[in-house]
């Protein structure tokens, strides 16, 4: 080596890498979620924003606490903790007391992700683990839906303190799914599409969620098979039921647009960590969710089944992966 040579690096190939990195993927999901989130905040007011921010803060703080000091920068740098908190916030009732939201965020990261070994190791979707925990712990607060109201009025329940019985002063209103389940009343499709209904923060505006999904699909961050599979299965299944008894069962369009269907199908079930790797497995996973959602909604005890449907199918992911390995090139051929 002579003096004029620059210092040469020795590294194994391939030397070229595509430019997409995990933090970029996570950031893409932020952008995709932003329109629906803004719409939700617009409909439900500042209180909803506070709930959302509390979830994110709790998630990030938990991630920070549980990550080893030398790796903290990377654990937080990939942006996944923010996303988990964000997704959790979108599934919560807009007037949930903040301390509950905080616990939800902490549980989502702590029990949903960290104890599995951190990013990539978890079996269940962390945001939904947090939500399931909250639903089991605070069933009343978690099923108190407010109707969209004034932007600057913050419901008093948001600032309720732990172990105190907060005065519920909000205008409560059953969610479209509750109306359907217990009173067999349908809600207008236009309201469902644009999100002007009661429900959780993020599950109201179907249209903006679809736009976000299309953006992710265009950026190739999203496995299109999962939302397509879930929606197609759920709609087909509910169409069959609807044709059997249209007075009792919801129609396919209502099924697709109501509740957490869009949010779940586009942003929750597609979480790569907890969905199958193989293309065939992905279809099985999506069809399973679609069937379970309608089953739970129509025949189960809860008006909404998206969360449990996804969590149940999450549990089957390793099994699905194992049995849906694609045929290796040049193997399993008919040999002469």
């Amino acid at each position: 080596m002579t003096q004029r040579d620059p210092k040469l690096l020795i590294q194994p190939g391939p030397q070229l890498r595509q430019q997409m990195t995990t933090p970029v993927v996570m950031r893409d999901v932020w952008y995709a979620l932003a329109p629906a989130t803004l719409a939700g905040v617009w409909f439900f007011g500042m209180g909803a924003l506070l709930v959302l921010l509390t979830c994110i803060a709790a998630a990030v703080l938990t991630e920070w606490c549980f990550s080893p000091e030398e790796k903290r920068r990377y654990f937080l740098g990939d942006g996944s903790a923010i996303l988990t908190g964000w997704l959790l916030g979108l599934t919560l009732p807009p007037a949930l007391p903040l301390w509950m939201a905080f616990i939800g965020g902490a549980v989502a990261i702590g029990m949903g992700k960290t104890i599995w070994g951190g990013m990539g190791g978890n079996l269940f979707n962390p945001a939904l683990v947090g939500r399931a925990f909250l639903l089991a712990t605070f069933p009343i607060a978690m099923t108190t839906w407010t109707s969209p109201g004034d932007f600057f009025t913050i419901p008093a329940s948001v600032f309720a303190m732990p172990l105190m019985h907060g005065v519920v002063d909000t205008v409560t209103q059953a969610s479209p799914l509750g109306l359907m389940k217990f009173e067999h009343t349908s809600t207008g499709f236009i309201d469902l599409l644009f999100g002007n209904t009661s429900g959780s923060l993020g599950e109201t505006s179907g249209l903006l969620l679809i736009l976000g999904g299309l953006y992710l699909w265009w950026r190739r961050d999203l496995d299109w098979r999962i939302p397509v599979g879930i929606l197609a299965t759920a709609m087909a299944f509910s169409l069959v039921l609807f044709m059997m008894d249209s007075g009792k069962y919801p129609g396919p369009i209502f099924t697709a647009l109501s509740g957490g269907m869009m949010l779940g199908a586009i942003f929750m079930a597609t979480d790569p960590v907890t969905s199958p790797l193989t293309p065939r497995g992905t279809w099985i996973f999506a069809v399973g969710i679609g069937l379970l959602v309608v089953l739970i909604r129509v025949f189960g005890g809860f008006p909404e089944g998206m969360m449990y449907a996804i969590l149940l199918m999450n549990a089957t992911t390793p099994l699905i992966d194992r049995y849906t390995q694609p045929r290796v090139f040049g193997r399993g051929l008919d040999t002469k």
Binding site: P6, L16, G120, L277, V328, F329
Partner: protein, 446 residues
């Protein structure tokens, strides 16, 4: 999906890196001037190293054989210049190790004319033809440097129907095959005809990626009426030039795992290899030089060069204007499967298709994150393996499971998985580690 792939002449999966060929694809091939000192490593091809038949102090002529094949899977080596053998001993190799090599000092006053004669190939029997190709030192010029004649030794009971010529050149930056197809079209078709007749093949098919329209046109124009040859434009996709992918793209045949192209009645040769064969039989010139693409953002004047084998890599780079300050890495071969060079004084080899100078922009590695199971590698692997699973198993050293359940030994290390990984996991390196480990274990059991 399959129908779509059929219509676009391609295989399934693979990746689309930017091809960066615009730097050199329109530059005519130039000849690199002879240097002073040439190093010819004895083991620069796959198989047994060649055996030196000269001694230090001998004078050699350009094109004279200096080492004979060390076995059947081995080829001869020839002197790239007229000069004097100064040493036979360990010399720097591209990977930083030392290997046995013949060092030849060029005679500065010689005209470097060759004293060789054309060979009448038509009267040769297939055995003699195979011997001649071995004697000419011809190996696969695509990068692997597999002795070419071995492919022509077809066992009894098998026949070759198609001679498939690999002009895919799917590695980014490289344009040496491209320029040869444009400039040496007749030699390519002549060489193809020699091999086709000797193997008794019915047809010559030349697979070329669609990003080389001038090469496709040149070949189509040059094919004489009556010659059983055709050009097949292929989708631009990496690794289109991998032997088994190419066969799938062109003939829609899957070569079974562990089998060779000849098992499906196909023989595959690289463009450069066929031209080397044509040169040998037309003029008698053995494999003593090859076309090399010097490119990348780290060189000032990218070029396609005829380089005498054994020339130091440094001289090739100097001819292209030298390395810029920004250069971080020099790669021998393509950027996907080529290797980093440890020492610029190492010699150019028969398998060196390119010398690339890359800057931080290309070689910078992203921070490694945990696998998020996004499945991009699964959808990139042309062999339909499960790279994400490999990375996870390799980290726990479960190599046996990788082989038994997931067929890790089928991997050709094309690097699509590592290329596509957003978490920056060096998957193909984990696979190499596993394969090495499995091979050494197998040796111990025997």
């Amino acid at each position: 999906m399959n129908l779509f792939r059929r219509l676009s002449n391609s295989f399934d999966h693979g990746v689309h890196p930017r091809h960066h060929k615009e730097q050199t694809e329109h530059l005519a091939i130039q000849r690199l001037p002879f240097g002073k000192r040439f190093v010819i490593p004895l083991g620069q091809h796959i198989g047994a190293p060649a055996k030196a038949i000269v001694q230090a102090g001998d004078t050699v002529k350009r094109g004279q054989m200096v080492a004979e094949p060390g076995g059947f899977v081995s080829v001869a080596l020839h002197s790239p210049v007229t000069g004097r053998v100064t040493d036979i001993g360990p010399e720097r190799y591209a990977d930083g190790t030392f290997r046995e090599a013949i060092v030849i000092e060029a005679d500065q006053y010689d005209t470097q004319q060759m004293d060789v004669n054309p060979i009448d190939w038509e009267s040769l029997s297939i055995e003699d033809f195979i011997n001649e190709v071995q004697k000419a030192g011809i190996v696969g010029m695509g990068g692997a440097a597999f002795p070419c004649h071995v492919k022509y030794a077809i066992p009894d009971g098998q026949k070759i129907r198609y001679l498939l010529i690999n002009g895919a050149e799917c590695e980014p930056y490289l344009t040496n095959d491209h320029r040869q197809m444009v400039e040496q079209t007749d030699a390519l078709l002549y060489g193809a005809e020699i091999v086709r007749q000797k193997l008794g093949a019915e047809e010559i098919v030349i697979g070329v990626e669609r990003n080389k329209p001038d090469a496709i046109k040149a070949l189509q124009d040059a094919i004489k009426p009556g010659q059983p040859a055709r050009v097949m434009p292929l989708e631009v996709k990496y690794p289109q030039g991998a032997e088994k992918m190419l066969i799938k793209s062109v003939f829609d045949i899957e070569v079974p795992a562990g089998k060779l192209p000849r098992d499906v009645e196909v023989a595959v040769n690289n463009v450069g290899t066929i031209i080397a064969i044509a040169d040998y039989f037309q003029t008698g010139k053995p494999l003593i030089e090859r076309v090399v693409t010097v490119s990348g953002p780290g060189v000032s004047y990218p070029a396609n060069l005829i380089v005498p084998l054994g020339t130091p890599i440094r001289e090739v780079l100097d001819y292209a204007g030298g390395l810029t300050e920004e250069t971080r890495q020099v790669v021998l071969g393509g950027p996907m499967m080529g290797a980093s060079i440890a020492d610029l004084d190492a010699p150019m080899l028969k398998g060196s298709s390119g010398v690339l100078a890359l800057t931080e922009h290309e070689t910078g590695r992203p921070q490694e994150y945990n696998c998020i199971r996004c499945g991009r590698c699964v959808e990139a692997c042309p062999y339909f393996l499960n790279p994400a699973r490999f990375a996870r198993l390799a980290k726990s050293r479960m190599y046996e499971e990788m082989a038994e359940t997931y067929n890790v030994m089928d991997c050709v290390e094309c690097g699509c998985c590592t290329y596509s990984c957003p978490s920056g996991i060096p998957i193909v390196q984990h696979i190499r580690t596993a394969k090495d480990h499995l091979r050494s274990m197998k040796g111990k059991v025997k």
